[in-house]
């Protein structure tokens, strides 16, 4: 049995490894074509990591990405494509910030309130797409994308000073008001220069643990994975497919609602027009790269965050920082192709090996044999 574990481990790494190698090769090609020195670029990128403030930035960003990827991954395990994480997290962050700014409760309760509101809003927004899918058969891909755009408009309207927003004198920025200190999540200061690691990052890690536990150690998680693997087999085993689809979308939306929390609770303490956008799409990349596995997603989140943060000062050195975006795109494509190739190879190989093992007489001893 140990042999098979080793095989699985190798195959498990082969996919991402192959993908990254191909992606980096292609990126190098792009750089060469655009007359830039690829090795200088890579050297610069790696050099960035040695700065502690960059490190903190990377970790903080990775925490946010991690949550986004988890939200997407829950959907992926069910063969659902929640492209709407972006709209869900922004709407959730905004409403949660509003609520947080308008009440004052003792510390932990304030934070809990904000977090719960965020999760509920996220779940609600995703639930709309879920209901449309289960009752009207609308593709969740198109529905969630539309809801993204609608949420942008909704936020823009809600944050108007005439509605719920605040406009500080002399500023063009609209905010939702400052959340009282009770609602500030304590961070982990590394050093005066480096900055703080958002406290919520640890919560994010905890979410990863919960994700793994629920999916792999609970009955519900088993049903979810079974439905994603084979809806017919799951149905024969007693799962109500429609309920499962809706529940998964709700859970995915709830996790999406958490995506804005590290920034909201640890940094800005308000939702304003310059709240980070686009995290949902990055989440998709990371979920794909991490193969929906909590550890894989964590590593991928770190990688993408690294690319993100380490590339921002590139302009100063004569490189275009958009190379990071291209690299991201190339990574996604290499990932999906190489994973599929590795998967096919792996299935064939396992069938072969099992045949060989059985032929060589390495089957588990059965009673029939023991009786002989």
């Amino acid at each position: 049995m140990k042999k098979f574990d080793k095989d699985r481990l190798i195959l498990g790494f082969a996919g991402p490894a192959l993908a990254l190698v191909v992606a980096f090769a292609l990126s190098t090609l792009v750089l060469l074509i655009s007359n830039r020195d690829p090795f200088e670029l890579y050297r610069l990128l790696f050099e960035q990591v040695s700065y502690s403030d960059v490190q903190v930035l990377i970790i903080n960003q990775a925490g946010t990405y991690y949550l986004a990827a988890l939200a997407v991954a829950v959907g992926f395990r069910m063969n659902l494509f929640n492209i709407g994480v972006d709209g869900q997290y922004r709407l959730a962050a905004m409403v949660a910030a509003l609520v947080g700014a308008s009440v004052t409760l003792p510390g932990p309760l304030q934070i809990a309130l904000i977090v719960i509101v965020a999760m509920l809003v996220g779940a609600f927004w995703a639930g709309i797409a879920g209901i449309l899918k289960t009752t009207r058969g609308v593709s969740e891909v198109v529905a969630t994308i539309m809801l993204n755009s609608i949420s942008t408009s909704l936020i823009a309207w809600l944050i108007l000073p005439t509605n719920f927003g605040d406009q500080a004198a002399g500023s063009n920025n609209l905010t939702t008001g400052e959340i009282p200190e009770a609602g500030w999540f304590p961070g982990l200061p590394l050093s005066p220069d480096a900055g703080e690691i958002y406290g919520f990052t640890f919560v994010a890690a905890g979410c990863g643990l919960v994700y793994w536990l629920v999916l792999n150690r609970t009955r519900f998680g088993f049903d979810l994975r079974a439905t994603g693997a084979s809806e017919s087999a799951a149905q024969a085993s007693g799962v109500d497919a429609k309920k499962m689809i809706l529940t998964s979308m709700l859970i995915s939306g709830a996790i999406a609602g958490l995506v804005g929390m590290p920034t909201l609770l640890g940094d800005t303490h308000t939702y304003s027009l310059d709240f980070p956008v686009g995290l949902g799409f990055t989440g998709i990349t990371i979920a794909l790269l991490g193969r929906n596995h909590p550890v894989g997603i964590a590593l991928s989140a770190l990688l993408i965050a690294f690319l993100d943060k380490a590339s921002s000062p590139l302009d100063q050195f004569g490189f275009e920082k958009e190379i990071a975006t291209i690299m991201q795109g190339l990574i996604v494509i290499s990932v999906v192709v190489s994973y599929e190739l590795v998967r096919r190879y792996g299935t064939r190989r396992q069938q072969q090996k099992v045949g060989e093992e059985l032929a060589a007489g390495h089957a588990l001893t059965t009673e029939k044999e023991a009786a002989l």
Partner: protein, 420 residues
């Protein structure tokens, strides 16, 4: 021994609630809709709703959506879901602008098509040859397209006069045509604000005023698509790949080949839509100018039941909502509230006739809400106006998704040799 053999059968009852609408019925519905819009215009006083400028603008905005929808149609008719239309459109805007500002608009159009087609080819390779899930591949291409165009802008537009890393220099325009006598006459008629006649005049006027040549090309592509896909052997084989690739394989059709062709054409059409956006609609490339039109195009395709004619109608509808938003949106969209409310009343009666009491109640409640909203306010907030196209898309999908029939093997991964 043999009983009476009835070889000739009477036309079978069409079951399942699917009715093919015949042309006269469709024309009647359109006329009815126009009359209703006209009525709403008179009541609300939003005379801009069917003005020549409005229709002309709507047409211009409908073209990119329609081209994206056409692209989606080609791909899905061959069984490949193409979520990457947005990315291919982005490639179209970029390549269109890049070639356009250097070598003139028509060269720009050509390059826009090529750029989109390259995206399509990539999608084909990933989905057909490597068998990756169609939606994942489409999303990946969207991400890559954004990255590529952003990156390349730094090397091209940033150094050009009037350009920056986020936009291109001003582009030359493609000629516009205006039918002189007709256009003026229609404008006159429309100014009278008469019931129905003026609206009709507005529509016709919009179609013959300031019409870009590229729009004409785009409009022609619709009947051309219909002809190719439904009247040629090539089209038949392509469609068979989306309906029943296994059956096609048993009859000797090379399914992989047709999927490749279809998806590449799909990308090219999206690229054309992007080129149109950049060259005709705005005369400039700007980061993010596609604004989700690739996805709205998909919705138009679904609305049109995967047929070019229906898709065109859908694109027209979305173009109209887009145009309403751009031209004094608040008042126009406000008038649309009234239109929606009245439409829902009609729907309520229809549902009562069908004995669906619960849904009739829900529709009536929503209708009442809309009426109240209309009468209590003067305008619709601009943010809601922004969301109008997307909400419309969702509504349309929610209401129609179940009645439609997509190509049977759409989105299903196909491996050669699955035929028994």
């Amino acid at each position: 021994m043999s009983t009476e053999v009835s070889a000739a059968r009477v036309a079978p009852k069409k079951g399942g609630g699917r009715r093919r609408l015949s042309l006269p019925v469709v024309l009647l519905i359109i006329a009815g809709a126009l009359a209703l819009v006209s009525l709403v215009r008179l009541i609300s006083g939003a005379n801009d709703v069917t003005s020549v400028g409005q229709v002309s603008g709507a047409l211009e905005l409908a073209v990119p959506i329609g081209l994206a929808g056409l692209g989606g149609l080609w791909a899905e008719r061959a069984g490949v879901v193409n979520i990457g239309l947005e990315g291919m459109m982005i490639l179209g805007t970029w390549f269109g602008a890049w070639a356009g500002f250097q070598w003139g608009p028509w060269v720009g159009v050509l390059f826009g098509i090529i750029g989109g087609a390259l995206g399509g080819l990539l999608h084909a390779v990933i989905t057909v040859t490597f068998g990756v899930n169609h939606i994942v591949s489409g999303v990946a291409i969207n991400i890559l397209a954004v990255g590529v165009t952003r990156y390349l802008s730094n090397f091209t537009f940033a150094d050009a006069p009037g350009g920056s890393s986020k936009q291109s220099p001003r582009l030359e325009e493609i000629d516009k045509i205006t039918v002189p006598g007709l256009s003026d006459w229609m404008q006159d008629l429309q100014q009278h604000h008469w019931f129905f006649v003026s609206d009709l005049a507005g529509i016709i006027g919009g179609l013959v005023t300031g019409l870009s040549l590229l729009t004409v090309v785009a409009l022609l592509l619709i009947p051309v698509t219909w002809f190719v896909l439904w009247r040629t052997a090539f089209g038949l084989r392509l469609r068979s790949c989306g309906e029943s690739p296994v059956a096609a394989e048993t009859l000797g059709v090379n399914v992989y080949k047709y999927k490749y062709i279809a998806v590449t054409i799909s990308g090219g059409l999206a690229g054309l839509g992007g080129a149109f956006l950049a060259i005709v609609a705005t005369s400039i490339y700007q980061e993010g100018q596609t604004g989700g039109r690739g996805y709205i195009g998909l919705a138009a395709m679904i609305f049109g039941n995967w047929m070019p004619g229906g898709m065109a109608l859908g694109a027209g509808l979305f173009g109209f909502t887009d145009s309403l938003k751009l031209r004094g949106g608040a008042e126009n969209v406000h008038a649309m509230l009234l239109l929606l409310a009245i439409l829902l009343v009609i729907v309520v009666f229809w549902q009562l006739y069908r004995k669906k009491y619960l849904t009739a109640l829900i529709s009536a409640a929503i209708s009442a809400l809309l009426f109240t909203w209309y009468f209590l306010t003067d305008q619709v907030p601009s943010q809601f106006v922004d969301a109008a196209p997307y909400v419309t898309t969702l509504l349309v999908l929610a209401l129609s998704a179940q009645r439609l029939r997509m190509p049977k093997a759409d989105g299903v991964p196909y491996r050669k040799g699955e035929g028994k």
